[in-house]
Point group: C2
């Protein structure tokens, strides 16, 4: 238990011990073609020493020398991810890795705009994927100027077109549309939609609302809107309001969790679900299958993460702007 802090071994250490130059060590350890002219005997000796010292190449030093960038930075929303997003992220990480890139997640950034952009740019990633709540035009410009591709999650692809900002978004309007149509098919004409108050979620909620409105317009149904916080109390408040103004026939609860809270509040109020009120969530997480009565949902299926990774990498290598929206909504009816 020596108290001297160990320093990682370097090729210089290996070279010294093996009695060769650092160049030779580098050639051997990288199986470099030029190193074909190093006899097996020397190679073995170098490798043995590297092994003994526990040598691991210094990724930063290497990429500084070669100028290569293989880091993709994923900056978390300031919102706790659902299992859907987390699962996608895992597979996406794997897919990127197979293409030679390393995806790192960076959470809870305190800054936004130029300040945040500077802290990301310091890491010299090949690309940054961040929520649009973290991005400002000036921040995006800074990153692009440094040759870093930027993907906005939640940014409007139409608005981004031509600015250099790429997008990787979920089409919330389409989700709302699918949910709305499903409720309308069940015969409901008096709909209610919940929109989260929490800022990062609100934007998505408004997109989903827009989709429901579009569906309702097709058949001339009405849509009420309620703001809701992610808490049982807020759900109870909305149900209480419905007590005053009359219950809606069909409710789209933004996602499964908000819908789940509404379900609890409805049951507490003695409302028959789905007999009196049909309730629909979105994301189709395991949660839906726990609730009794069950919850209908809109499952969001994503294109293969491999395909998305491929297109992101293409954008990096070509330096081009791409707009990806790899999720498509599939209604899952569990209520009759």
């Amino acid at each position: 238990m020596t108290s001297i802090r160990p320093r990682p071994a370097t090729i210089t250490d290996i070279a010294r011990q093996a009695g060769v130059s650092t160049a030779t060590v580098s050639y051997v350890l990288n199986d470099a073609p030029a190193g074909a002219r190093i006899p097996e005997e020397t190679r073995a000796r170098v490798r043995a020493i590297a092994d003994e010292l526990g040598y691991v190449p210094h990724a930063n030093a290497r990429s500084l020398r070669t100028g290569s960038r293989d880091l993709v930075l994923y900056v978390h929303f300031d919102v706790v991810h659902g299992p859907l997003a987390t699962g996608f992220l895992y597979e996406f990480t794997r897919a990127l890795r197979d293409l030679g890139y390393t995806l790192m997640q960076y959470g809870a950034e305190r800054h936004r705009g130029v300040k945040a952009a500077r802290s990301w740019a310091a890491l010299r990633p090949a690309a940054v994927i961040a929520g649009d709540d973290r991005l400002t035009p000036a921040g995006v410009a800074l990153l692009l100027k440094a040759g870093i591709r930027v993907f906005g999650m939640g940014s409007d692809p139409a608005a981004a077109k031509g600015t250099g900002l790429s997008t990787l978004v979920m089409d919330h309007r389409a989700i709302g549309l699918a949910a709305g149509r499903d409720l309308l098919e069940r015969g409901y004409r008096d709909l209610a939609v919940v929109v989260p108050v929490d800022p990062p979620l609100r934007v998505m909620g408004e997109g989903r609302l827009e989709g429901v409105r579009e569906a309702a317009a097709e058949v001339g149904a009405s849509v009420r809107v309620h703001e809701m916080a992610y808490s049982p109390g807020s759900a109870a408040g909305i149900v209480a309001a419905w007590g005053e103004e009359g219950l809606p026939e069909g409710v789209f609860g933004y996602d499964d969790e908000f819908a789940g809270l509404l379900l609890g509040a409805l049951l507490d109020a003695g409302v028959d679900v789905p007999g009196r009120v049909g309730l629909m969530g979105a994301d189709d997480v395991m949660l839906c299958r726990m609730l009794r009565p069950t919850l209908s949902s809109v499952r969001v299926e994503s294109e293969s993460p491999e395909e998305i990774a491929r297109r992101v990498v293409e954008s990096i290598t070509e330096g081009t702007e791409v707009h990806l929206s790899p999720w498509s909504p599939v209604p899952v009816r569990r209520q009759t």
Copy 2:
């Protein structure tokens, strides 16, 4: 829309444009004390050019030169995190940042043991925090040899003591103990405990089971054990088995999600919960408050993330082994 891939500006670029040496630029941009001898006029010129070029220092180059390491690597379990873990991670990230460290999350590592350790070590982090399912003694040894502190999540602190491996664990035995005692206080003497089959979860499940057994032994109650997958079908299977062998009085469902699935299956089978069977989860996530009937739970409260960050940093700077178990269980009874 030039198609030339832009390269980030360097201090050399700035120096050239400002007509000074790179040393001067470095002094100016770092407000170095030795740079006190650079007149405001020159400083302003350098800063203006840096700004115009969108200069951002190259973190890797800097840390290569200074030898400093400020990266803390958090390697995800191969399991989707619950909101509890995610929320903790956010605050922990912030706290570490305030202490000058950057926490990066790295997910879906395909390797384990030495192979994984090598890929982490290449990044020259100050510390690695990883699930014990990713760590082997050889891998830990490699990291320690490179001066990288290693924190095992889930590793047994008693076994780790003296090996150099630090631990950051949840005391699952204590959670089981709290759950068991709560159920026993309600008068139940015939208990059932669910253990997840999924390998990373199984270990935690067994720890929780041990705690329940300890509580049961105190009063001479019986404990049945059931393996369960995270699926409605598996839950239904267990409830069906109870149909054969008789219902238990109290059930500890490992966590809220497994307990939620069990609740659904019990209701489907027409079992009165909590009248006939008392059910308890753990983690006290929002889910508990959606379910009807409600679920009792064991909330796991963590010490302030700031305090944990402080102790992790202390371990890094001192090079010492620490054992942290900053979560304590608090039963939350929602069933009567």
